[in-house]
Symmetry: C2
Subunit: 425 residues, 2 copies
């Protein structure tokens, strides 16, 4: 006995096209395993006259509303991207009593809570596994498997372009500019790479992870971000000497009732599982109070991996549609956002200082006076070239900023060099 | 608005005790996030007079049937272990219309299909995330996220004891016997280590993974198994020289309509993500036709990690109970088991041969005559100590067995040494 569920697809780019193909390939296996007869009946695209691949019977239109409202569309898959129009379309679908599957991270980072609440009101589902870390089943792990878990922290390598670039810099000793040019030539980075290299893509994903992991209402605007454009080959070499690699991490953590989220290049010990994630792969490392350390690793982007995540959601939503058994997520808890200056990290700091007795005590005194405690320090280089690499214990952003201000004002400090946040092993 | 769901717990060992504590700690967070008021009302143990920790109001009994049948038990958590009695209890619970959460791998490996079908007949759920790889959300990934994915192969490090032992042998160059004694002293290995070191624990898990990943009906008796008791420090050193580490893998794969499952020590390239899984951690590597490579990594055992997986299942089942919306899994497809001798692998083979011209051609000829093609060969050692390490392309177990028989009969072959299956990078 199979139940027919008809899908309206908005957008037929890279992921949409892959979804059409994947659903066709897997149609009979899905029917055998789930009892669902899934078909894409309508597809909305910007330009319906443009030649397309095989559509397997779906009707093509440039009228999005006609797809959403069609009687032969039971659920809507939104793969258009963008925020404002997508928000209207998703809201209209939910209001029409149709569950929505979307991979639109920008939309969720800006309006996730509002849309989840709307889905709840209309007793339909809003699923978005594909919006973070492509084919990696992170959302389902957080929403289902770890529902009862006291999650303490989630750290993710969630942008493949920057991980590819940092991996190349680490493995080849190459410069940032060189690696960026190569990544652009290979199509791994876009002509305007800002969204990736300045961390905005990871920032949106951090907001979604924080919302789902902690039931907090976090938007991308709430997430302090620093990208990788300031990372140098020298920084990477210095980190390596100390046993670290530099990764761009989205970090989301809870401390009491407060939630903190941020994105920055981070020194990760080489023995940490995240350090082994190379090239354009993504991985998300979860620290739970009961489950311990957990890592999910896989392809974070690409048409087929992302389409696979969309299809998993489609099958889940279609099962609900066919059983008439939608599961409402309750409204999210109101975990408070921690003020950015109260967030805590360990820090790496590279200082070039005058080479005379007493300077070290002077510098160490500045850390101490500002409540920052030093875990290790190590001289690198010799004579006028000498610098000292400090790694601190955990300190607040506020205390660290005050320390830096005082260090910069110190006559014996020639230069405050690279600064990185550091995670433990 | 909260819905009350009352739990009957069978067994209060390591995991059961951790579940009682975890549920107590997380009760209010779970209520806030899911609207569920979860309480363990009854607990069945072998000896109810033995002193226990705090039970938070649960009633203790040695009468299992009384727990299953109690009106104030809505769902049953089975953490007793064993096969025959557990089968009766789980069946009785399902027949009474109560969903069951279990972490009992032996039960599922022997009677999984029968019990899943029984759950379907009675319109209740049977969830078993904790049965394979403890806190790692593998079952949910396979059953939900990857439902529409053309999964090609699943390879798992699913036994922490043997991974701990192999990691120690690799890192310290230690002998098998030495590492086993140490693992026993630390409590990582049992006094009778057979179930772990001979691969029977991994064998049961391979059967469950095959059933869930491919919808096949596979029991542990269907899975050929080889443990790690024959792995020597020399084998590990030889593998390292060629760029491999030795891991005990449960391998489950599909080829056309056929499914193959097996457990054996395997040479894994050091660049493969599975090679980086050290100590007692577990990891499962999934190769999907669309999603690409995916790995889930975490704690495979231990009271709290396993209790976390049980609690995730309890929340899912309790949500179904409270909504009255049980999702039936359709009956499993009948994927056929591939005959063990038709299963394919690449092989590593260590041969000690006479040191005279023409021997290599003779030996290589035996591989070729039996349809096994050589990918690489490398001499190790010198003179009478010399041996040749061969790595083949993929070949069937049948062809490889024939090759070995012929090699053993060859006068110029002094000794056929270590043999390992090998996976690609």
């Amino acid at each position: 006995m199979t139940a027919s569920v008809r899908i309206g697809l908005l957008g037929m780019g890279n992921v949409g096209g892959a979804l059409v193909e994947l659903l066709q390939e897997q149609h009979s296996d899905i029917a055998a395993l789930t009892g669902l007869d899934l078909a894409i009946t309508r597809i909305a695209v910007r330009d319906a006259s443009k030649p397309r691949g095989e559509l397997y019977g779906a009707e093509l239109t440039d009228n999005v509303a006609a797809v959403i409202d069609a009687d032969d569309v039971d659920l809507v898959v939104e793969l258009v991207g963008g925020v404002d129009l997508a928000r209207d379309w998703v809201a209209r679908s939910l209001q029409a009593g149709k569950s929505v599957v979307t991979g639109n991270k920008a939309l969720l980072a800006a309006h996730g809570r509002e849309l989840m609440d709307l889905a709840g009101e209309h007793n339909v589902e809003l699923l978005f596994e594909a919006s973070v870390a492509g084919g990696i089943p992170l959302m389902r792990a957080l929403q289902k498997s770890l529902r009862g878990e006291p999650i303490e922290r989630v750290m993710g390598i969630v942008n493949g372009t920057t991980n590819y670039m940092l991996s190349k810099m680490t493995e080849d000793g190459a410069d940032y500019a060189e690696v960026l040019a190569e990544a652009q030539a290979l199509g791994y980075a876009e002509a305007d790479p800002t969204a990736d290299v300045e961390g905005h893509d990871a920032q949106a994903k951090a907001a979604i992870i924080a919302s789902v992991a902690f039931g907090a209402s976090v938007t991308d605007a709430d997430v302090p971000v620093q990208g990788i454009s300031g990372v140098t080959a020298e920084d990477i070499a210095n980190a390596a000497r100390l046993g670290y690699v530099i990764k761009l991490l989205a970090v989301v953590e809870r401390s009491g009732d407060e939630v903190a989220a941020r994105v920055h290049p981070t020194m990760v010990p080489t023995s940490h599982p995240l350090a082994t994630v190379r090239g354009s792969f993504n991985a998300v490392f979860i620290e739970g109070g009961a489950v311990g350390d957990l890592m999910l690793y896989g392809r974070g982007a690409g048409g087929r991996p992302t389409a696979s995540a969309v299809l998993g959601d489609v099958i889940e939503a279609a099962t609900s549609v066919s059983h008439g058994t939608v599961r409402r997520l309750p409204p999210m808890a109101d975990a408070r956002l921690r003020a950015p200056e109260a967030a805590m990290s360990a820090f790496y700091l590279d200082l070039s200082v005058e080479d005379r007795p007493g300077v070290l005590a002077e510098v160490a005194g500045v850390f101490g006076a500002n409540g920052v405690s030093i875990r290790s320090m190590e001289q690198q280089g010799l004579g006028a070239e000498a610098s000292i690499a400090f790694i601190t214990h955990e300190a607040t952003e506020r205390d660290m900023a005050a320390t830096l201000e005082k260090l910069n004002a110190l006559p014996s400090v020639n230069r405050v060099g690279a600064q990185y946040r550091v995670i433990g092993g």
